[in-house]
């Protein structure tokens, strides 16, 4: 059993999905807006970026404002996979499995340098770390930083929303107005 688990197989996640039953453009357009406005992330943290992912849902940053605070523990109910941290070769099969378990409209954020490219763990003859989440699963948004701040993760969420619906919903940071309310 132990030997079996240590067997490192490099493979890519199965990305085939069923076609939608109702595939009318206006319906899909409305559904896409709804999907963008309620992206439920999966409760899944791999390393220290997960700490930033937690503050992303907490008081100061509050992903709830954009409907993304419902961290679902089960991949069956989540729409957004945030790869928050370093992916080891031992963890890679589990990441692939979680990706494959998530039902069809699903998006992935590679959060932090480790998830983008392996980050500080890339050196000659390294054997433990997958060099980038996109080696094993398709990634929609890359989020640089070590770790990225929660604001950056919010920006990543907006980029996913832009990718789903084709427009940016919220003002750019430069044009945003400060609110004294919260």
């Amino acid at each position: 059993m132990a030997q079996e688990n240590q067997d490192i197989k490099k493979y890519f996640a199965d990305t085939t999905t069923d076609d939608p039953i109702v595939n009318l453009p206006p319906v899909q357009k409305i559904l896409n807006v709804c999907r963008a406005m309620s992206l439920w992330p999966m409760t899944f943290g791999l390393a220290c970026c997960a700490i930033e992912m937690m503050s992303f849902g907490m008081a100061r940053f509050d992903a709830a404002r954009y409907g993304a605070e419902v961290f679902r523990p089960s991949p069956r109910q989540s729409d957004l996979i945030i790869i928050a941290g370093t992916i080891n070769h031992k963890m890679a099969p589990l990441v692939i499995r979680l990706y494959e378990q998530t039902p069809a409209p699903k998006w992935v954020i590679a959060m932090g340098n480790c998830a983008i490219s392996g980050g500080p763990f890339v050196y000659k003859n390294q054997y433990g770390v997958v060099e980038g989440a996109d080696k094993i699963i398709p990634v929609d948004v890359y989020l640089p930083g070590c770790p990225p701040r929660p604001e950056a993760l919010l920006e990543g969420l907006f980029q996913i929303q832009k990718k789903i619906t084709g427009r940016r919903w919220w003002p750019q940071p430069a044009q945003a107005q400060k609110s004294d309310k919260w």
């Binding site: 559904l31 404002r65 679902r72 109910q77 039902p103 309310k181």
Partner: protein, 326 residues
């Protein structure tokens, strides 16, 4: 055409219209409660909660609902697909039946039956079966453990629930919910919460446990059981379990309002508004409790029931009987 309509017995029309009204009421309540739950969670954490989707986030539950409709439906390998998809339906259907007997106002009740309270207690019990089927057919350890927890919890908490209900029933001498509500006066000191404070507290704790609300939400404890019995449900299966949970919360709050808070009785305003206000106050307290208290451990949960709630409920019943006999 008109003869054909007149040939239908009036009872059928009442039931049909009532059923549509119940469906609308349950759906509306679920939308409102999802919004309230998330908003209140936000306020308790000192954050705004859903805020940007529509003004103050009021379109958030609609976005969630439509997203869940558009989500891929999935049956796990090795699962019994009939039973697997039957479970959410078994979960939601009895909740709808429960609303038939509830008097929303002096003139707003679908069927005024003598066994209203028994009907509701019997049909809410079926929910346990649905969760059992869901856990068993999912082919998932977490689902099975969640279902096992739910069954032991529901069976244990059914006993003090029924005993506390009995003490109110002995006071009023009827199972008819309309008569129980009508037997109380318009002012708060005439409600049964004054005569039966202990029964109210016990009943409320049991209701929290029966509806799987925190701090007794062990069947779906995220930290140890992924998502409990609905781990394997995606899209609308999950949404129907959620809808059922909120529907049972509303039914339970209605019962609390009728048995202890005077039902539709109240000064000045018409009865329906008083009833809805009381139901929503009870629901808000339930949400408040959820976001305030941590989850209990499973042995603590059963200890509370067997060591405290059942003896206290029996004591309360005996005192009530003694007072009635005197």
């Amino acid at each position: 055409m008109i003869e054909a309509i007149e040939a239908i017995p009036a009872q059928f029309i009442v039931i049909f219209v009532g059923f549509l009204a119940i469906l609308a009421f349950v759906g509306l309540n679920a939308v409102l409660l999802v919004y309230l739950e998330r908003k209140i969670a936000g306020f308790i954490h000192r954050r705004p909660g859903p805020y940007e989707v529509g003004p103050h986030g009021i379109l958030q539950p609609i976005a969630d609902g439509l997203k869940l409709v558009g989500k891929q439906i999935f049956t796990p390998t090795g699962a019994d697909s009939y039973l697997f998809w039957l479970a959410p339906m078994i979960s939601i259907a009895p909740a709808l039946v429960c609303f038939i007997a509830i008097p929303f106002g002096p003139h707003l009740q679908i069927i005024n039956t003598n066994v209203g309270l028994i009907l509701i207690l019997a049909f809410t019990g079926i929910n346990v079966l649905a969760l059992c089927i869901a856990g068993w057919t999912s082919q998932n350890k977490y689902s099975l453990l969640g279902a096992a927890r739910d069954i032991s919890q529901s069976v244990a908490y059914e006993i003090p629930l029924l005993i506390t209900v009995l003490s109110v029933v002995f006071m009023t001498g009827t199972f008819n919910l309309f008569d129980i509500a009508a037997g109380q006066g318009a002012w708060p000191w005439q409600w049964y919460i004054v005569y039966q404070p202990l029964a109210f507290v016990l009943f409320f704790i049991c209701v929290l446990a029966e509806t799987n609300r925190a701090p007794f939400d062990l069947p779906e404890a995220e930290s140890e059981l992924t998502a409990g019995f609905h781990t394997e449900y995606s899209g609308m299966g999950f949404a129907m379990f959620f809808l059922a949970e909120y529907a049972y919360m509303v039914v339970a709050s209605c019962i609390v309002a009728i048995l202890f808070l005077g039902g539709f009785q109240g000064p000045i305003a018409p009865g329906v508004w008083w009833f809805l206000a009381k139901v929503y106050i009870v629901l808000l307290v339930m949400i408040w409790i959820r976001w305030t208290f941590p989850r209990v451990r499973f042995d603590q949960l059963l200890n509370i029931c067997w060591k405290w709630l059942i003896p206290l409920a029996v004591l309360n019943l005996l005192i009530t009987l003694a007072v009635i006999a005197l």
